[in-house]
């Protein structure tokens, strides 16, 4: 595991030189994050952002990343705030580079949250994986917009887009759109979306073992978010987030 560094500013440029490895951690307490990331050959960045302590205003997150050959960019973005937000992530993926985004979010009031994560493949042999997991309760509103674009000539590219929202709301809004745009034949691309209530069969199964409906729903919802939260390397923050997930009412 690479050394954990804490980002002190929300805006600016992150440059990693050839073969450099870094894990950066940011707890966002401001209205916006605006990062420009440039990863040179064989460098590796693990960026972990927790947007739990947001201000009263709408939070805007914008991350643009340029992944040069054989570089790796892994993003973990966790947002359990109760404010409106929009996150836009764009990754340009060069040959043999790898981009991974893992998102966990909850929405419970009337705030609208939009996560728009784009992986652009204009070069050969790049790969990307986008996974977004969310839960809406009450009148929550959550959109997971994923977009993998594979341009003509970008052969041997591999990409996957996943979006999953558990809808426990009463009249909330949920939108999952893991889009693939493909202009090349010799590639691997897949997408998966699930959106809906907790499956009745799973609920019955857990209740048949003695769990109340609330306990069963809570256990399954926690299970939905927990794998993403577990990616957070800062133990104290991770435990705090797990406490939040475990004790939130669903």
């Amino acid at each position: 595991m690479s050394k954990l560094n804490y980002l002190k500013v929300n805006e600016g440029i992150i440059n990693l030189e050839d073969n450099e490895n870094k894990t950066l951690f940011l707890i966002n307490e401001k209205d916006s994050i605006d990062l420009n990331i440039s990863l040179k050959d064989y460098s590796s960045l693990n960026l972990q952002i927790v947007n739990k302590y947001a201000s009263n205003n709408e939070v805007k997150i914008k991350i643009t990343a340029d992944l040069m050959e054989n570089s790796t960019f892994k993003l973990v973005l966790i947002d359990f705030s109760s404010k409106k937000m929009k996150a836009e992530v764009f990754a340009e993926i060069h040959s043999f580079a790898y981009f991974e985004a893992n998102v966990a979010s909850t929405s419970s009031n009337t705030e609208e949250k939009i996560f728009d994560i784009r992986a652009n493949h204009a070069y050969k042999n790049g790969s990307s994986l986008v996974k977004m997991y969310g839960v809406i309760t009450d009148k929550g509103s959550l959109s997971f917009l994923g977009d993998s674009n594979i341009e003509k000539g970008a052969i041997k590219v591999s990409t996957r887009q996943e979006g999953h929202i558990a809808d426990l709301s009463k009249g909330g809004k949920a939108n999952v759109s893991p889009m693939l745009r493909i202009a090349e034949n010799d590639i691997k691309a897949s997408h998966g979306a699930t959106l809906g209530k907790i499956p009745d069969e799973s609920l019955f199964y857990l209740m048949s073992r003695g769990l109340t409906k609330e306990e069963a729903t809570s256990l399954m919802t926690i299970g939905f978010l927990k794998p993403i939260v577990n990616l957070i390397e800062d133990e104290k923050v991770r435990d705090e987030l797990l406490d939040y997930v475990n004790n939130r009412s669903y």
Partner: protein, 272 residues
């Protein structure tokens, strides 16, 4: 449990009547084999007893020790000592088996007396050994990626952890090899020694030879057509169900043609 009585039970699923007047009694520590052709209502009966919301009780009663449990929630029935081992246990993504087991055990205990860590650890260790599964299964998501045999052993493991008073097994032997059937039969027999009553569905005499039911009931067309001693199992195994038509004048209806099932869709969905 002293007794479970099913009285004139009519159950429908999505508007179609499946059970049409089932009468059955299971007494304390009995092992009842439930036989019958496919699609005649055996699994429906088990699900209705357990309280699956999809199975609508149109008429009749389910009495557990004299109490009508027909309208009780599923979890309350479980806490009263009912247990069902599923024919196809669902895969519950994201839920670690160990977390689930802990919640499951605690749901049967007083709120201020949760299972201790050491006791829990020992229960799992003993359970996994009994059903011959590796202990590290407890870190995997519940039933996710388990083989058919692992799922069935996992069901039996849960039965042991909960120590129910009435255990319903829905084709627990399907998908199991010969050695696995022996393993789970031994566990079932141990559980019976604890005083548990059983209602067991299976299409194969091999399981019944090992667990030795005390009685057998045959379900035809949504009703118990024949209720008798365990010799019925042998008869069904050698002769099938045709003799019921000849001896009892009951025409065995054939299973409806199954409609095609959509396995998966690939689409973007928006809800409001």
């Amino acid at each position: 449990m002293k007794e479970l009585i099913i009285k004139d039970l009519f159950v429908s699923v999505e508007g179609k009547m499946i059970l049409k007047g089932v009468n059955l009694k299971i007494e304390n520590n009995e092992m009842v084999a439930l036989l019958g052709p496919n699609g005649h209502g055996k699994s429906t009966l088990l699900n209705a007893i357990m309280g699956h919301p999809r199975y609508k009780i149109e008429q009749g009663q389910i009495l557990l020790d004299g109490e009508d449990i027909t309208s009780l929630d599923v979890d309350v029935r479980a806490k009263r000592g009912l247990f069902m081992a599923f024919q196809n246990p669902p895969e519950v993504s994201g839920v670690e088996t160990m977390d689930f087991y802990k919640e499951m055990i605690n749901s049967h205990r007083e709120q201020d007396n949760p299972v201790g860590l050491f006791q829990f650890y020992n229960m799992l260790k003993k359970g996994y050994k009994e059903v011959d599964l590796p202990e590290d299964m407890n870190t995997r998501h519940l039933n996710e990626g388990f083989s058919g045999g692992e799922k069935k052993r996992n069901e039996i493991m849960q039965m042991r952890l909960l120590n129910p008073s009435l255990c319903m097994l829905d084709e627990i032997d399907s998908g199991l090899d010969v050695d696995s059937i022996k393993t789970i039969s031994n566990v079932i027999n141990s559980q019976k020694e604890n005083g548990t009553s059983f209602l067991v569905i299976s299409h194969y005499a091999r399981l019944f030879e090992l667990i030795k039911p005390t009685r057998a009931a045959i379900m035809i067309n949504g009703k118990i057509a024949v209720d008798g001693d365990a010799s019925l199992i042998q008869r069904v195994d050698t002769e099938g169900y045709d003799w019921i038509r000849k001896e009892y004048g009951i025409e065995v209806k054939k299973e409806d043609d199954k409609k095609p099932v959509v396995l998966e869709t690939c689409a973007v969905k928006k809800v409001k």
